[in-house]
Subunit: 287 residues, 3 copies
């Protein structure tokens, strides 16, 4: 018998309008009734592997010991592999498609230590079609793991070094500019950048002064702040977010809407004393 | 004492914007703390009994033993009955309004074996108004059942043959055509038809060749495929879905949006060699 | 050791598109694995403290013993206090920002009996930023309470009388009119008013006859009814809702859409025999 687990955390792009996410709960409970299932989110944009990978990477440090089932899987039913990846000395196992979805989260907790391809039908459900691997492959494999089935029993070992990597862009320093990417726009419209405070200090010489944020043709001034309320009405801010990254934010308004940016967009951060042009305030739209 | 249950599965049209679904959890836990509650979905379109019945019928085969509470209930508070229906030798009990919502799911697991009308106030909550039977009638009845209360204690027996049936349309063969209905459009825009592979084989003589799909005035060609990715960009497919039915699908795009179809619409499937007119490709819209 | 709890109920404005709500589940489970977590709702409109307070006040009477974590918190990270409020002789503890969110619910169950400010870092998570108090302050404090940590251990006592009150408007009688507020529009478009049946009886002299409902420039006739179906097609009703308040409702249609009202709007109720003008029917829009 292998290690037993009593928590399965789910992250998918199934949404809530259908019963798909609920069926994952049902399958896990039917096989492993002792398990508590946590919904991290099921509203990853459809097919957006990158967004799913980032969300899982943000969450994994807060998860209890157990198994994660993550499914954003446009290649379902093809020869893309389903995998189970052991991390953190066995404290966690990540299950899902081998398409880069799991890799950033695995990296956050120290990297993949052992991996298998999910091929053993004994631990899967017989499927009338090939389109719902979450129900038929990933959830039952997770539940059997929770029951103490050995990782190796789920299928043949895979070299962890050969798993599909996740691609997360790094900010690029170009002269006085820091070219950054919007990694995530949250429900409130805050825009997480792939920039830590230290990265920005490196450009500004450590000055806490406002900086210019260039979005397309527009140039805005952003104050550095610790809280949204500190910004006050209409002032754009660079606020240290709950993961230690800088986010573009407004107080009680959506920075994403006001600036017209979305996840995946690029923005440029520049120290204001570079004399490189006129700045424009964020123009407030009617709420 | 009757049989005890430790799982209650919920399916409603309450949505998530209000606390209604959460209150069902609270009511069950307050009465029967040992029970795990599973949310199948709460986003059935408001008042859409047919959509709720189909979702429950799709899910029921995957549920663990236990009680189901399903609520899509435009007639709440009227003389439509609230019922509890025993199925599968007592392995499951379906609770909700007797309006056709429960019938297809009951049929999937062998049919209603015993039923009672929910009239016994002892197992319900006193209600300030008549509009929230989920909270006041269905959830508490389910929780008491889980505690071992006998089914018959919930109210007088009802002849299972007299429960309101669910109406699920069957495909109609007309000459060389198969007239089908769109049963379900999932989050990804895949359109489940009320057609199994064998039904289509019957029209095409078993040929695996593409077929014509007529939607209103438009005629499209659809390939038969096992996975979405097999279709490639822009090609319409008929893919065996996770319930063994055929679905109209595109790879990483919404077939429902591209074809302009919704749940309840009719489409016609015809073998392509019938020479009955010009076919048009699916015109890709901007995402 | 203090009292132990085994249920934590969550209510936030985090939405479901991000993993924020899921992370609260994870944090609670990591600290207090015996706890069941209930999602009341996470879809309170962003920053809408009043809507959150009303939803919690509606739900609290149905919650099992335990801890509530409520987060609608535009002032996160500022000097607004985080608090834990004991109610009902210790049967419940409400945790969240001291901004009026918790006060109406506390009042429903008898008022705040004891309160502390959440300052003790031992029972919180170290935070890379100050923007996610739900994860870093409220959820871990709740979980430690569930484990038997004393309320007083979470921080210094606060005078319950000095907690920020919640503001819920009362209806105003002006001559023959009752000026009411729309407290809540539910998923179905029913509009809960801050008016009990008795309040309306007071205006109408107890007559069960229809009344006039004035919305802006428009004047509608509303029948009093017990169920939605009793209203029949297109007839506006005043239906006693599941909390004993009157709601403006239509059968299987959204009264909010048809009348053009939203939460926070005012409407005026008048007995029809006042001869004060022409009434207009609700004009049905295409669904």
């Amino acid at each position: 018998m292998g290690r037993r687990y009593d928590t399965v955390s789910l992250l998918t792009d199934y949404g809530h309008v259908d019963e798909l996410a609920g069926v994952l709960h049902a399958v896990v409970r039917d096989i492993a009734a002792h398990v508590t299932v946590i919904d991290l989110t099921h509203d990853i944009p459809a097919f957006d592997v990158r967004a799913g990978a980032l969300a899982l990477a943000r969450a994994i440090g807060y998860l209890p010991e157990g198994v994660v089932v993550a499914v954003v899987d446009p290649g379902v039913g093809t020869d893309r592999r389903g995998v189970a990846i052991e991390v953190a000395g066995g404290a966690g196992v990540l299950i899902g498609p081998d398409n880069g979805l799991l890799a950033p989260a695995a990296a956050v907790v120290g990297g993949a230590e052992r991996a298998v391809e999910l091929t053993e039908a004994t631990y899967q459900l017989a499927a009338p079609g090939a389109t719902f691997a979450g129900r038929d492959v990933f959830a039952p494999s997770a539940a059997h793991l929770c029951n103490g089935v050995e990782l190796d029993a789920l299928g043949p070992q895979v070299d962890p070094a050969l798993l599909v990597p996740g691609i997360i862009p790094l900010p690029r320093r170009e002269g006085d500019e820091l070219r950054a990417d919007v990694l995530w726009v949250d429900r409130f419209g805050n825009c997480q950048l792939n920039v830590a405070s230290e990265d920005l200090d490196d450009v500004t010489g450590g000055s806490p002064d406002p900086v210019a944020v260039v979005v397309g043709e527009d140039r805005h001034v952003a104050r550095r702040a610790t809280t949204f309320a500190d910004l006050g009405p209409g002032s754009l801010g660079l606020v240290v977010d709950s993961h230690g990254m800088l986010q573009l934010a407004l107080d009680r308004r959506s920075a994403a809407v006001e600036l017209g940016v979305a996840a995946g967009d690029q923005v440029v951060l520049v120290a204001l004393d570079d004399g490189a042009g006129v700045t424009t305030a964020v123009e407030m739209r009617a709420r």
